[in-house]
Amino acid sequence: MGAFLEALYFIVPVSIAYAAPLIFVAIGGVFSEKSGVINIGLEGLMVMGAFVGIVFNLTFADQLGGSTIWFSLLAAMVVSGIFSLLHAVASISFRADQTISGVAINMLGVAIALFAVKLIYDKGQTDYVSEQFIRFDIPVLSDIPFIGPMFFSDVYSTSILAIAVAILAWFVIYKTPFGLRLRAVGEHPMAADTMGVKVNRMRYIAVVLSGMLAGIGGAAYAQSISYEFSHSTINGQGFMALAAMIFGKWHPLGAMGAALFFGLAQSLKIVGGSIDFIDQVPTVYLDILPYVLTILALAGFIGKASAPKAIGQPYIKGKR
């Protein structure tokens, strides 16, 4: 039992650390898709966030010191938000196929980031950042037996922020007029339009929100896990967040739960080798677990996951 607890105290904090970036990005996805705009481009937006976060960090670490990491998050949020406008314009105003536009965002995000890294640093990857998110023990709470070492020790501040964002997103989407309009626009845009909701404006806001959150997620990942930026820094984290959003049934708290679970799968892959029993499991099963579960959830084997009704369709005024 003692060894098992030790293992838990070890795994749980790492899982939460891996989950935090996924939570940001998945919540971003929830905003966009609740409004009826498919966002396959989360990966590209996240890449952009990681890139901006690292470059900002490297550039301003000397001036800003300890607060660099937070300003980097902010910079990544702003740039990815602007970058997501491209997806918004194409899929909302220009009525492009939202999936295709998302694919283009992914391609463009990686390409622009690598192009810029080579332009600025004259090599394919950046240096390691000196200012990083570091773990800390929350005073008092970490002294609670059992819960303390599991949830309140070795915590990243991004993890706390991520969970706060998830709860805030739940409140905004389900308890405020803005959230009601957001959901209305994604379920039945014509009805929402009739009631005076500006459909396209709501969708623009939702897509930009998703870009901002994906940017934060990317910068959080880069500054707490990879510490540098190269072509393989994000490598599918955005798609995993997309999976978390679906596995969480397009609900902010569901997405958070799914992200935590996927974070566990990722951390087991990395630290599992040192834990009895888990080191017997071939890592390939942990690798594919999030994706298999998402397919099963969609197929209705793990509850029914259903997307907002008007997802993927551009809203054209006056068309029935």
């Binding site: 396959i40 283009a104 594919i288």
Partner: protein
């Protein structure tokens, strides 16, 4: 302006605009766009070796484009080409390595077939889920891409006793062609281009000349009407994904049996599958259009490799250009509006 002309003009204008944006980006980032594009041109057409390699690069692009286009004609969005390609790559390489004493006329077709079957199976799963449980194929195929990546990596490690490479395939399974290599100053050009072009014909034949093709397209136009006309919608959806997956699997065979002659553990995707979406989009999902799209994007991707050496421009500029072309083609509605406006003004005069 006729509708037909506009249909051709939209992609053409998009390509020009994409290249123009690429030039502007180079200009603003301090690179010389003329030098950059000259290096690109030389990378594609510079000498006979470059031309051979360009055609080699175009080969899997044709098949990846067909895999997207074919599914699209049945109203399905196959983002899973990447995964179908990877499993095809592994299957072909494994058959190439595992059998050593087969004659070439059995071994090579067997390896090619294995790739097609593996890709088809990878397409079958999302097809089945879509047909029977109405699960959206976009998400399932994305998830299948990652499953393919990790599973094939594990299988490669398994068959190579923990290594990261299957080892070289037997000569009897190789698509390599001393004749084509000799013709192109020893590039890696291989007979796969003939398979790719044959598949272009196969797609055209299935869609235009068979009852099955008619049904597949009918389901793409209107599922309810097809059902009412007595067609089996589920069967057609599955069939479409299976055939599309087989095309993608063959694209993997091109890499396994032609270009690389092995399969290795991959840290990420090849990118060919995603570029296949661009190829199909530019080619308006027609077989001949796919050949044009693959030629353009395959050539751009291969030619871009010459840009850092000759002009100092990062290769990523070409991916930026391709992504922007996708945006323009996908936003065809606006471009169409614009072109129609111009033509109506001309007619008024």
């Amino acid at each position: 302006m006729s509708n037909r002309l506009i249909n051709i003009l939209v992609p053409a204008v998009s390509v020009v605009l994409g290249l123009l944006v690429g030039a502007l980006i180079m200009l603003f980032t301090g690179y010389d766009p003329i030098e950059g594009y000259a290096a690109l041109w030389n990378g594609i057409f510079g000498d006979i070796y470059a031309i051979g390699e360009t055609i080699r690069q175009i080969t899997p692009y044709i098949l990846a484009g067909l895999a997207v286009a074919f599914a699209f004609r049945t109203g399905l969005f196959n983002i899973g080409v990447e995964g179908q390609l990877i499993v095809g790559w592994f299957a072909a390489a494994w058959v190439g390595v595992a059998f050593t004493d087969l004659p070439a006329f059995i071994h090579l077709p067997l390896a090619v077939l294995a790739a097609a079957v593996a890709g088809a199976f990878w397409g079958f799963i999302p097809g089945l889920l879509k047909a029977k449980l109405k699960v959206h194929e976009v998400i399932v195929t994305i998830m299948m891409n990652y499953i393919a990546l990790f599973v094939t990596n594990a299988l490669i490690r398994y068959v190579s006793d923990g290594g990261d490479n299957t080892g070289r395939i037997a000569e009897s399974a190789s698509l390599g062609s001393p004749f084509l290599q000799g013709l192109t100053d020893f590039s890696r050009l291989h007979y796969g281009i003939l398979i790719a072009l044959a598949m272009v014909f196969v797609m055209w034949f299935i869609l235009e000349k068979t009852k099955t093709g008619f049904e597949l397209k009918a389901v793409g136009f209107n599922q309810n009407a097809s059902e009412y006309a007595g067609m089996n919608v589920s069967r057609n959806i599955i069939l479409s994904m299976v055939i599309a997956g087989a095309f993608a699997g063959l694209a993997g065979a091109m890499e396994a049996l032609g270009t690389f002659q092995y399969a290795n553990v991959k840290g990420g995707f090849t990118g060919i599958g995603f570029d296949g979406i661009a190829v199909a989009l530019l080619g308006a999902n027609t077989p001949l259009g796919v050949v044009f799209g693959a030629t353009l994007f395959g050539a751009l991707q291969y030619g871009s490799l010459n840009m850092p050496n000759e002009a100092g421009v990062p290769v990523e500029i070409v991916s930026i250009v391709i992504a922007i072309i996708i945006f323009f083609v996908a936003s065809g509605y606006v471009l169409r509006l614009f072109l129609e406006k111009i033509s109506s003004k001309k007619e008024a005069k």
